[in-house]
């Protein structure tokens, strides 16, 4: 019994030690970001201290003003809310269709859509640019949003189809007998049951759209329409990076996404685990 206890204690110690190392590795960059956001540029390079000598709170004010965060913040919120809502709506309907409806070329179409996951974003810059120009959507919020939505389709389909496929058909059949329409089944039964997968999709797409700026920079020209990441660019020169303001800006930009994560945290683990098992 004693030897069993000792073994368990050793195992627990090793597990905790490993977890501690992993936790520190994850937390340290965030800590460094916070600490650097309160230092001066020279202090960052010349003094390797964990905490600032003098706490430069003004960095946050400077970053907010210099990067014109107010305007970019609003833009990013609009892109994220509209983009993610549309992604959830479109992909969930499409995924339900692929899971439950029978039509010609279903699998071919599905794998064709999924294969777009393999195309890197820079590879589609030129065709996208030309397409948006033809549609008169270049330098418009709508154009950028459509790019975001179409870009997320494949991943959303991949995540949600398997989820819908595994839902018990009997519930849907019962609803059909009770007179529920196809859309009613999707909206009232399938969608609520897919909550964990949708939560995963929401958080991942929130992250993707909030942090995206390559596409925005190519599609948009008007500064007033740019997302928050454009603001951070102000501090990254070709030769010099203003690290204190960049880190302060990053901290500001991170807050909303952390809030979204905390709000949806309990669904995410479930969704990812379910997606991993079923996908």
């Amino acid at each position: 019994m004693n030897s069993f206890k000792t073994k368990k204690q050793i195992l627990d110690f090793i597990t905790h030690a490993i977890l501690l190392v992993v936790a520190v590795t994850c937390i340290f960059p965030v800590f460094w970001m916070l600490s650097s956001s309160l230092k001066t540029q020279e202090e960052i390079f010349t003094k390797m201290t964990l905490l600032p000598e003098v706490w430069q709170w003004s960095n946050y004010v400077d970053a907010f003003i210099k990067a014109e965060f107010g305007m970019y913040f609003l833009n990013s919120i609009i892109y994220t809310v509209v983009g993610v809502s549309a992604i959830v709506l479109v992909t969930s309907m499409a995924a339900y269709g692929f899971a439950r409806l029978e039509f010609w070329g279903k699998n071919f179409l599905f794998y064709l859509l999924i294969s777009t996951l393999l195309i890197p974003i820079p590879g589609v810059f030129v065709p996208l640019y030309l397409l948006l120009k033809k549609l008169s959507l270049l330098d418009t919020r709508t154009g950028l949003l459509l790019c975001y939505i179409s870009g997320a389709l494949a991943f959303g389909l991949f995540l949600l189809r398997s989820f819908f496929e595994d839902l018990p058909k009997e519930i849907e059949e019962a609803a059909l007998i009770d007179g529920c329409s196809r859309f009613g089944i999707y909206w009232r039964i399938a969608l609520p049951l897919a909550k964990p997968a949708i939560a995963t999709l929401v958080i991942l797409q929130c992250l993707a759209i909030w942090n995206e700026f390559l596409l925005a920079l190519v599609v948009l020209q008007d500064k007033a329409k740019m997302p928050i990441q454009r603001g951070l660019m102000v501090f990254q020169g070709t030769f010099i990076t203003d690290y204190p303001l960049l880190m302060a800006g990053l901290t500001i930009a991170t807050i909303p996404i952390v809030i979204v994560y905390l709000l949806m945290q309990k669904h995410i683990v479930k969704g990812i685990a379910a997606g991993a098992l079923k996908g």
Binding site: Q41, E42, F45, T46, I78, V81, V82, S85, A86, L89, P122, F125, V126, L128, Y129, L130, K133, S136, L137, L138, D139, T140, R141, T142, L145, W187, R188, L191, P192, F213, L214, L217, V218, Q221, D222, K223, K225, M233, V234, F235, Q236, G237, T238, F239, I240, T241, D242
Partner: protein, 434 residues
């Protein structure tokens, strides 16, 4: 999901959609931009404030509005330029940030205006000569571009060796008399290493830096004609002079001159290493003056040329010339206005302002008189930068040279083997060309 929740979801979605539409979409949005303004796309976001001030001044003087839009990092800027070129939506002034081969393709596609007439009408006299040659095309250029001037340099740069005066003194070296020959350079390296100081750092993880350092010795040993002959395949990369160039890096390695991890080090890390006094010498561009100031304003340093080989036949030249140049969109209806603006922009007063704000060397040679001493020293080196060549080596061979230099530095290859491998690639590329 209850009916109530459904309506809440729909309401939120349509509210946000309304926000997007009401804040302007489609053609309505595009029409908001001022079409009469001259549009400039630049990639140095840290210069936005200085550009804006000059644009404001120009507006006050002429009533013509100029809008500078900066996009970073450079690869995003490049993507934007490529996409805009495909859609024929390039701004009035831009830079494709490309090598000469790609620049030639932009010119031949009609995207870049030939500025020879304007330059020959006295405009070119205000510039450092070397700042113009990189964006001009000679009569017999291999790309078939109409000869002439195409780029307008805004600033110039060159690649020199910075040295830390305090660390030199600590190692018993004369801080006011840095090494001038290769032998002195190696001796200085030995003394620095003996004093526990890393002698030399640079971002050799970025292959262009290691290649540029080697190219200085190519000019030193081969001269212009020798380089052209090498590109044309008349001189082999196994020529003893090329083996010697690889050997110089081997000699530095043997004498422990390189900072640890130099082959994988990006230039930003190398700059930090030098700025924090962890290496005594650094190969870096003139932009380093501004970088080191921001990292460590109390750093005491000087600059020196890469040390020449005492038995070499030709002068040692350094990488440099134009720092950032701008090109006028040949298809723009505001082409003449754009040229007039660039003429104004490159005058002494404006250039001095830009140099003061950004701590770079202006392309206007008169403005160089207004610079701090260290930048004045740099500006003197502009005339000793690489000359214009009518052709360039294929990128595959250049890559081979750079990666083999890195292999020599880490002791993976001997200079002879490195030279042989480059020559083998050269032969492959020549066969492909044929």
């Amino acid at each position: 999901m209850s009916r109530g929740r459904f309506f809440v979801f729909v309401k939120v979605f349509f509210f946000c959609l309304f926000m997007v539409i009401s804040s302007g979409c489609g053609k309505k949005e595009s029409s908001k931009s001022d079409d009469s303004a001259i549009k400039v796309w630049h990639w140095m976001t840290d210069r936005q404030a200085a550009f804006d001030k000059l644009a404001e001044q120009y507006y006050n003087e002429t009533g013509i509005k100029v809008v500078f839009e900066t996009y970073a990092p450079t690869d995003v800027y490049k993507n934007k330029i490529t996409a805009a070129a495909s859609g024929q939506l390039l701004p009035d002034i831009f830079n494709p940030l490309s090598d000469k081969r790609e620049l030639a393709s932009y010119i031949k596609a009609g995207f870049i205006a030939n500025l020879t007439t304007e330059m020959n009408a006295g405009w070119k006299d205000v510039f450092f000569e070397k700042s113009l040659v990189q964006n001009m095309f000679d009569k017999n250029n291999e790309w078939g571009v109409e000869p002439g001037y195409y780029g307008v340099p805004l600033d110039v740069s060159s690649l020199m060796i910075y040295y830390n005066k305090d660390l030199f003194a600590k190692a018993g070296l004369d801080a006011n008399n840095p090494p001038k020959t290769w032998k002195e350079f190696i001796e200085a390296g030995k003394k620095l290493r003996a004093a526990g100081i890393q002698p030399f750092v640079s971002g050799f993880g970025e292959s262009w830096l290691v290649g540029s350092f080697a190219a200085s010795y190519q000019w030193n040993l081969f001269g212009k004609q020798g380089i052209i002959d090498t590109i044309e395949g008349k001189i082999s990369y196994t020529d003893p002079r090329w083996v010697r160039i690889f050997g110089l890096f081997n000699e530095m390695k043997e004498n422990k001159m390189f900072a640890s991890g130099i082959v994988t080090m990006i230039n930003k890390d190398a700059e930090r290493t030098f700025a924090t006094g962890k290496a005594a010498m650094a190969l870096n561009g003139s932009w380093g003056v501004n970088v080191y100031k921001s990292m460590n304003s109390s750093l005491q340093y000087g600059i020196m040329y890469p040390p020449a080989l005492s038995d070499a036949k030709y002068p040692l030249l350094v990488f440099g010339g134009d720092g950032s140049s701008m090109f006028v969109n040949a298809m723009s209806p505001k082409k003449d206005k754009a040229i007039a603006f660039l003429k104004w922009f490159t005058q002494r007063q404006q250039q001095s302002f830009l140099a003061k704000e950004t701590l770079n060397i202006p392309s206007n040679k008169e403005s160089a008189q207004d610079l701090p001493q260290i930048l004045k020293d740099f500006s003197k080196s502009i005339n000793n930068t690489f000359e214009n060549l009518p052709m360039i080596e294929s990128w595959q061979v250049t890559n081979y040279i750079n990666t083999n230099l890195q292999s020599v530095i880490i002791g993976e290859k001997t200079p002879q083997l490195a030279a042989e491998e480059v020559q083998a690639e050269k032969q492959r590329q020549m066969k492909v060309r044929k």
